[in-house]
């Protein structure tokens, strides 16, 4: 038999934090001061609290659609290792990355509501944010499309002689797309300073990760592109930061891209339209909820001695209050004016759109209510 199968096994992911929050024996944690550690905690907590509130809103029919990240918050914090001049190409499930970079709750809520103050003018479904001022690129629904785009941006930075880099997030299901392949391949060939963070949360809607690939791991896929791939415990924030630090160093040094498989779990449904009860056993989620990344980080803060009930309460109050303010205001803002429908298709309004604009403004504004709520399958 001349054939053999080589390559990485599905060895346990890289990790640093013991369950009790201590750094494991001989582990080399990245430098991190208490202030930064707390900031990370506050951001993860914000994701959790916001998700809870938004799902309630959605159930009340005050929000068309929503997608939670419960259990995956630590992965979002990968952006901690970046400079603000670096670019992020998120998928729909990394709000923490946005918050960490300064995306306000008011802005967040305005986008979800698609109101007149939404910075993308109510153009997209909830959770499809965009913030060019924060170098956070417009989120798309078709999964994987951001991957070659991130590579192109990173590559452009190199061509332009800048040392900016790109970070892109996507789920493990997205590794099955053609765009994942062409993006990874271009990155390898052109040594683009791009970091690929694959959130392996085990599920793509109802499809388990085992249906996405027969490879021994998602990290192993990097071998097909000639650059390193690493598996990391995505619920271990310290490990995430360590791996990201290495990846950033590689990219800045011109050593090229890195694929990071962050092993985590999607504790709740795929979206507000989804009920995981239909396709997976609840024990699975129960098991994983014991590995809650936020709880784990909190224990780490305790070990560091920089966590206190007081801080916890303050954070929760601040976030809840800011969120409430954002909602009260956001819901008071009207929808965008009908005329805005025709802006931004092109840099300037071409004649045929000017004509259609006129037609619309000549119509009585439609009275019939919005249709049934948002799609499944997203």
């Amino acid at each position: 038999m001349v054939l053999k199968n080589q390559g990485p096994t599905d060895e346990p992911p890289y990790w640093l934090l013991e369950e009790d929050g201590r750094v494991r024996q001989g582990g080399q944690p990245p430098e991190l001061n208490d202030e930064a550690a707390l900031r990370l905690y506050r951001n993860m907590l914000q994701v959790r609290l916001v998700d809870e509130r938004m799902m309630k809103l959605q159930r009340q029919g005050r929000l068309g659609f929503y997608m939670e990240s419960v259990g995956e918050e630590a992965v979002h914090m990968a952006v901690h290792a970046l400079r603000s001049s670096d670019w992020v190409f998120p998928s729909y499930r990394e709000p923490g990355a946005l918050f960490y970079r300064g995306y306000t709750l008011q802005r967040y809520v305005n986008q979800l509501l698609g109101n007149a103050e939404d910075s993308i003018k109510g153009r997209q479904m909830p959770v499809h944010h965009s913030a060019s001022d924060l170098n956070i690129v417009s989120i798309s629904s078709p999964v994987g499309t951001q991957i070659p785009q991130a590579v192109g941006m990173a590559w452009a930075a190199r061509i332009a002689g800048k040392d900016d880099l790109a970070l892109t997030f996507f789920g493990e299901g997205t590794t099955s797309t053609g765009d994942f392949h062409v993006g990874m391949n271009f990155a390898g060939v052109f040594k683009a300073p791009c970091i690929f963070v694959c959130r392996n949360n085990k599920w793509a809607i109802s499809t388990p990760a085992t249906v996405q690939t027969a490879a021994r791991s998602f990290a192993a896929k990097a071998l097909a592109y000639g650059f390193p791939g690493v598996r990391v415990d995505g619920n271990d924030l310290l490990a995430m930061l360590a791996v990201m630090e290495d990846a950033v160093a590689r990219a800045r040094a011109g050593d090229g891209p890195t694929l990071i498989e962050a092993v985590t779990y999607r504790l709740h449904g795929h979206s507000s339209s989804d009920d995981p009860g239909g396709y997976r056993h609840p024990d699975e989620a129960k098991e994983w909820s014991r590995r809650d990344p936020i709880e784990r980080w909190k224990r780490h803060l305790m070990v560091r001695g920089c966590w206190s009930e007081a801080i916890e309460t303050r954070y929760r109050e601040e976030i809840t209050e800011e969120l409430q303010k954002a909602l009260t205001h956001g819901e008071s803002v009207p929808p965008p004016a009908a005329a805005t429908l025709f802006d931004d298709v092109f840099a300037t309004l071409p004649p045929h759109l000017a004509e259609q604009r006129q037609d619309l403004l000549a119509q009585p504004r439609p009275v019939h209510p919005l249709g049934p709520h948002s799609p499944h399958g997203h």
């Binding site: 068309g64 659609f65 698609g114 109101n115 939404d118 109510g122 153009r123 997209q124 479904m125 499809h128 798309s140 629904s141 078709p142 999964v143 299901g173 997205t174 099955s176 797309t177 053609g178 765009d179 793509a204 809607i205 109802s206 499809t207 249906v211 996405q212 690939t213 339209s273 989804d274 239909g278 396709y279 929808p335 965008p336 009908a338 805005t340 429908l341 025709f342 298709v345 045929h352 759109l353 259609q356 619309l360 119509q363 009585p364 504004r365 439609p366 019939h368 919005l370 249709g371 049934p372 709520h373 948002s374 799609p375 499944h376 399958g377 997203h378």
Partner: protein, 324 residues
């Protein structure tokens, strides 16, 4: 006769045909255990098992590409694309491969299959859960394009499509997936591909539409917005091959034409309908041909109802043509 919605009708057609024809397999994202994000394939996995009801990796090009290989070998795949908006990664496999296989092989190889996909707006889906791509496919020789508007046609047309020898793009109007209900015969029956249906006879203005738009047009009528006129309303049901006779006969009778679809106006399917009439029935026309369509912008989120043709906009166009 049971009363079904469109999802139930589609599901019923799939079940019937899979029982009748062992070559039929269903594949796509989340179509198996879960039964599809719209539940159109629910119960199939339980009845026909994982070999005939297949959950695939997340890759539309893979779904269609492998379905072509299956069809070449003799199976009858019915791939589902979760939303029509996500069909473009498979566009090359559809327009360069599927559509051309019979032709380029001189008839040696054929890949009959039915690509099912929910399409259209009205569910607050924004850019990527609302698109109407029918014109792309109608412009591609080798593909048939079928769009039911109610449960009866959905079942009958899907059964016809699955029994045909050609690839069919089967677009399901998801806005009325559950809203459109009607009596559906149990068991086997087919609705022929290539035949339009006159849903309302009239003498004054011909209105051509398909999919969810049929309901919007009928809403204009039921709301009394068209009461001063007598529109003849035609549900095309098949865009390719088009039932030219029914269309032209109606326009020759009414001398006036309004076309309604959700897709962007420019180069939409309505353009073909207008061009057809301007070529074959020009002298019968007593008024300009009006198209009420989606605007030439990406599909918006908040302003969806401004974007979509409303009963009011359609009635206005009918009035304009009638009073011209």
């Amino acid at each position: 006769m049971p009363t079904f919605n469109i999802i139930q009708a589609v599901n019923d057609a799939l079940k019937l045909e899979m029982r009748r024809d062992a070559r039929v397999v269903v594949l796509g994202e989340d179509v198996g255990r879960f039964g599809g994000v719209f539940r159109a394939t629910s119960g199939l996995y339980e009845e026909f098992g994982p070999e005939r009801v297949i959950d695939t990796p997340l890759a539309e090009a893979g779904i269609i590409g492998t379905a072509i290989g299956m069809a070449l070998y003799g199976l009858r795949p019915v791939p589902e694309i979760q939303f029509a908006d996500f069909i473009y990664p498979a566009f090359d496999q559809i327009v360069n491969e599927l559509a051309k296989f019979r032709y380029r092989s001189g008839g040696q190889y054929t890949a009959p299959m039915v690509i099912r996909t929910p399409y259209g707006g009205g569910i607050r889906g924004g850019h990527y859960h609302s698109q109407s791509p029918e014109a792309y496919f109608a412009h591609t020789p080798g593909l048939k394009v079928v769009i039911p508007s109610d449960p009866y046609d959905a079942k009958g047309l899907l059964l016809s499509a699955m029994r045909g020898e050609d690839p069919v793009i089967f677009l399901e109007p998801k806005r009325v997936y559950r809203a459109a209900r009607g009596e559906v015969p149990e068991g086997d029956y087919t609705v022929p591909i290539g035949k339009a249906k006159v849903v309302r006879e009239g003498r004054q203005v011909t209105v051509l539409c398909y999919g969810a738009m049929v309901h919007t047009v009928m809403e204009a009528v039921s709301k009394g917005l068209t009461q001063d006129f007598d529109p003849e309303i035609i549900d095309l049901r098949t865009l390719l091959p088009l039932d030219t006779e029914t269309v032209l006969a109606s326009v020759r009778k009414t001398g006036r034409l309004v076309i309604a679809h959700e897709a962007p106006k420019t180069c939409g399917y309505g353009a073909e309908l207008a061009a057809l009439v301007a070529e074959k029935a020009l002298l019968h026309l007593e008024a300009p041909i009006l198209r009420v369509a989606g605007f030439d912008t990406p599909f918006p989120y908040t302003l969806e109802n401004e974007y979509l043709p409303s009963p009011e906009r359609i009635a206005k166009a009918i009035a304009e043509t009638a009073n011209f």
